[in-house]
């Protein structure tokens, strides 16, 4: 791309519970943490991409968050909007920012989000169920998020012969990574075994409790700049080598197939743009609302053959020390799932690994990362390929 767009700087606050902060206040906390961590002044930023607040929580959605972020920074951006595609929205922000930078429409775009889950009670279960389901043709059948994801996992398992042990192996490997991350929420819980996962209570088959992500609060910011600007901030930025996106049916019951999550086309576009082959990917960060997702995405992104992803987990390839590390921050299942901001976490980690800033969990010699994110009920898909060198 022209101007070599790159992730120059990334910051994520610790996932946790912040009862005293609403999402706008959490956005402020993210901005403060970002400015504390990086040598970036507000005046350096000329673009803002923000996510709406209040989508899942009470009080109604605020869809002008970009204005509040710009006002807080005291800047007058030339590229700015609030955009939403659920968990895929942040990889899409990176893609949109890169396009603006390549077109000379912006030099430094701050992408930001903070997320919470609604409080239990007060009909929140009904509200979320209705939000994620077709109101007439799905909602009356007792749907909610785990069930809708389970429909994909069950079909993929029926087609490939994958088992509950295979799903559990994902949770186990991700916990190993989380033990190396100081901010991972489940770090204090210690290691997890396949027996622990299979022994946890069944939520919606095939998902046991420990096959599910951990609902928390948090947020993150990404600064996307030209390569030149990035190198002034960060000796080793993460260049955007390729991206792709596809938007599947919003209502799960309208899907024509259930044996894939929908990543294939987005990943194909990203690889074609990058000029890289799947064998050249060093680490993968794959959105894991539930344990089945990374397995399906390894196959859909071409990092494993059809039905072969479980072997990568059983052989230790995806775990610390393995040949294809996956979700090196613990994933949403062990790092934490920060509400609507969750799609930030795997972008942050992909960038940190390429930057060589992942601390104890750094995978030595990482020069490329694939990040795949989804939003909605596996409806929105966005893939990024990051690298330590700008394309030639």
């Amino acid at each position: 791309m022209r101007n070599d767009p790159a992730l120059a700087a990334v910051t994520e606050i610790r996932p946790g519970r912040y009862p005293e902060l609403d999402e706008l206040a959490l956005n402020s906390a993210v901005i403060s943490a970002f400015l504390d961590q990086w040598e970036v002044r507000p005046g350096d930023i000329d673009g803002v991409l923000a996510a709406p607040t209040g989508v899942l929580t009470d009080g109604g959605a605020d869809v002008a968050v970009h204005e509040k972020v710009a006002d807080e920074l005291g800047i007058r951006p030339r590229f700015s909007q609030t955009m939403y595609a659920g968990g895929a929205g942040y990889a899409l922000m990176v893609a949109r920012a890169a396009e603006a930078i390549a077109a000379g429409r912006a030099d430094a775009v701050l992408c930001i989000s903070a997320g919470k889950f609604p409080k239990v009670g007060a009909a929140s279960g009904e509200k979320i169920a209705k939000f994620v389901s077709h109101p007439e043709f799905e909602y009356p059948y007792g749907t909610y998020i785990p069930v809708l994801y389970a429909l994909f996992a069950q079909r993929w398992m029926a087609e490939t012969g994958a088992t509950g042990e295979d799903l559990a192996a994902v949770a186990v490997a991700q916990r190993q990574w989380a033990l190396l991350h100081p901010d991972a929420f489940m770090r204090d819980k210690g290691p997890l075994t396949v027996a622990d996962v299979l022994g946890s209570r069944m939520i919606a088959s095939p998902f046991h409790l420990y096959d599910c992500s951990v609902p928390l609060e948090g947020g993150a910011a990404l600064l996307v700049t030209s390569g030149e600007r990035a190198r002034a901030v960060n000796r080793r930025p993460a260049y955007l080598l390729g991206y792709g996106e596809v938007h599947m049916e919003g209502a799960v019951s309208m899907r024509s197939t259930f044996d894939t999550g929908g990543a294939t086309e987005a990943a194909r576009q990203a690889f074609a743009m990058s000029g890289l082959a799947p064998s050249e990917i060093d680490v993968a960060q794959l959105y894991d609302s539930f344990s089945a997702n990374p397995l399906m995405y390894l196959e859909e992104c071409g990092l494993a053959g059809r039905g072969k992803a479980p072997e990568l987990y059983h052989s230790g390839a995806t775990a610390p020390g393995g040949s294809l590390p996956v979700n090196t921050y613990g994933g949403l299942m062990s790092f934490g799932h920060t509400g609507d901001a969750s799609g930030m976490s795997m972008v942050v980690e992909g960038a940190l690994q390429v930057m060589g800033r992942a601390g104890e969990r750094q995978v030595p010699g990482t020069s490329t990362a694939l990040v795949h994110t989804h939003g909605g009920m596996l409806s929105e898909h966005a893939t990024l390929i990051l690298g330590d060198r700008a394309e030639s």
Binding site: E136, P140, G142
Partner: protein, 138 residues
């Protein structure tokens, strides 16, 4: 009083579907020029863009495309039903829809590809929603 499971709220587009369901019939929009279903109901056929929908009766049998046995109910209204089955069923000759599988003798024996047939469940004083059960469980 325990919360009740939600009844569908018909729109102008879907009213014929729910009126048929209340009579114990299945009826879905059909685009004549394309000779195919338009389900769930939409203002326009996604293939030809046409707005003229005929209504037809799909088959009342089909097979399970995928399913989940729900052990932790979505919310209070479904607590008495758990464990319950949510499934996608492809009707013979189409279309595909979401349903619960009811009258299932062994939840561990539900499979992808299983044959199912239509039944109904009352919702509210006047409505019914289509449901499916394993064939031969009448």
């Amino acid at each position: 009083m325990a919360p009740v499971k939600p009844a569908p709220e018909p729109t102008a587009l879907s009213a014929p579907y729910w009126a048929a369901a209340a009579r114990g019939e299945l009826s879905a929009p059909w685009c004549e020029p394309c000779a195919d279903w338009v389900f769930p109901p939409r203002p326009r056929c996604p293939r030809c863009g046409g707005s003229e929908m005929g209504w037809r009766a799909p088959a009342s049998t089909g097979q399970v495309v995928t399913f989940s046995v729900v052990h932790q109910a979505a919310y209070e209204a479904y607590r008495d039903d758990q464990p319950y089955v949510v499934a996608i069923v492809a009707l013979d000759g189409g279309p595909q829809l979401m349903t619960n599988l009811v009258d299932v003798p062994d939840l561990g024996a539900v499979t992808v590809g299983q044959r199912v047939e239509l039944t109904y469940e009352k919702r509210g004083p006047e409505m019914q929603i289509p449901q499916f059960r394993p064939v031969g469980r009448s």
